[in-house]
């Protein structure tokens, strides 16, 4: 799976989570760029990403993701692609 594929899937998950099909998502997107992306939504989103890719993030990763790009870095590590 390429990095672009992962971003595409993550984008779809974020759109579903926030019920907004117009949402523009890039690797630089942060929680501050998306309305309603608070700590509650963060964990729910993480859960959906984990389910989609069949992986499990560590608590350290969840705490310190600064943007979507860093989340993709971790997904790649868990998928054994990094």
């Amino acid at each position: 799976m390429t990095r672009e594929d992962i971003l595409e899937q993550v984008t779809q998950i974020i759109r579903d989570e926030f019920e907004d099909d117009e949402l523009e998502v890039s690797e630089e997107t942060t929680a501050a760029d998306v309305e309603d992306w608070d700590s509650l939504a963060h964990i729910s989103l993480i859960h959906e990403v984990e389910r989609n890719f069949d992986i499990k993030f560590t608590m350290g990763e969840i705490q310190d993701f600064r943007n979507v790009g860093e989340m993709i870095d971790s997904i790649e590590v868990h998928l054994g692609q990094a």
Binding site: D16, E17, F18, E19, D36, D38, S39, L40, A41, I43, S44, H47, T58, M59, G60, I62, Q63, D64
Partner: protein, 511 residues
Amino acid sequence: MGATVTSFYFLCFLLCVLAVYYISPIRFRRVVILIASIAYYILSGNGLLMVFPVVTTLISWAGVLLMERTEKKKAVLVAVTLLDLLPLIVLKYVNFFINTVNGIAFAASSWTNADPVIPNIALAVPLGISFYTFSALSYTIDFYNGTAEKEKDYLKLLSYVMFFPAVLSGPIRRYRFDAKGLNEGNKLDYHNLTFGAQRMLWGFFKTFVISERMKIISSRIYDTPGVYGGICAITGTVCYAFELYTNFSGCMDIVLGISQMLGYELPENFNTPFFAKSIQEFWRRWHITLGVWMKEYVFYPVLRTKAFTALNDKCKKKYGSKKGKQIANIPALLILWLTVGLWHGGDWKYVIGSGLLHWLYIVCGQLLTPYTDRLLTFLKIKKDAKWLDVLRVIRTFILVNIGFIFFRAHSLGESIQVFGSMFRIHVPVAEFIEKLGEDGLDWIEVGILLISLVVLTVVSVLQQKGSVREMIDKKSLPIRWIIWFALLFFTLLTGYYGPGYSAAEFIYQGF
């Protein structure tokens, strides 16, 4: 030596520590910090109670060593967490439990038998137990999460936990971010020294000039609850909001200033909280380190449990992603806010005023948002209109003030009494003003207070654009000197100083 960092003796102590720190060879500087921290804790009146932070740190440190040698890391984490929290729970909450049992028994006897079923236990609580326990605990949790390295040297960990400026009143630190730079021995830096001193001065101004004056007004209301209602009680409560803010954030300015003078950066605890447009935003601006700590070490783990994951899935299926999430989060938020309330102290006034009330605000806010959005669309009002933001700031300030009533009142009963008295229309305003005059707040004092509040407001507005000290630093030398010396002399001349040149105790000190 008084426990407060504003006392004259503490300033002498600080000067000695700074001198010894920078005179010592770099490799010994961390030892200076450790000795100063232990000396400060003992001199603050804790004496033998110093054993508590020493043992708490030892448990966290040994727990990590054990984690390295066993597969049962989670069991070790649970054991360390329980052992670290045990003194906190026993010393701070045992009387809360007893008082609650007595209260229930009193109610069960139809409010007739006021004799306590269980007598209270006199306990000596080590100062700052809630702050240092959380800072120590974060080390073990961060190591377990794989975000922090093992610290081989116990004394280095003890330096971090007992770091003297922060041990008694915070900020609450997270090991993986805030242990860096403390044990390396920092070089003397003119910028850090001057900026640190300037920040301390700003903290003294807030504490001595504003907070202590506001206290006169709030005390008149809260020490005689229900006597002066209506506008007087409302004024007293608003003054308490400013008293608490200038006291706690002033204390943080002093603490962060001292730390900067030692070349070490502590996390910020405040960011102009009264400009918040919602309760959630307020908690991102007020006592920031408590909120962040609770979010990372309590809230996230709770939300990641199987029970909450299943509940989240179920609610999302039934109500859709957005609404489902909100509904599923209601019980998780309840646990979070109950913990925040209890952290403030073993008393129902804290559990309600600093915990459950804010939970209620957030849950109601989330559930009502779709309806208020629809109303705004119907009225053709833009959601991001500036005037609407002003109303949001005022609304948030009022809601936060209701919480402060509980925080300030001596008991839950008295807080309800003060809150109820606010709705009175006919109140003896003239008598209230006269009493304030007797308490020392004459018109000149009111004038000083108003000028100080203008200064505070101007600085707070400027802070939205960046560091005010940096802004001043860019001015020419005479302007810089005029600003800082004006603040120094104004604080010296108009500050309220008690015995030992110390302000009354910091409200959050000893939590």
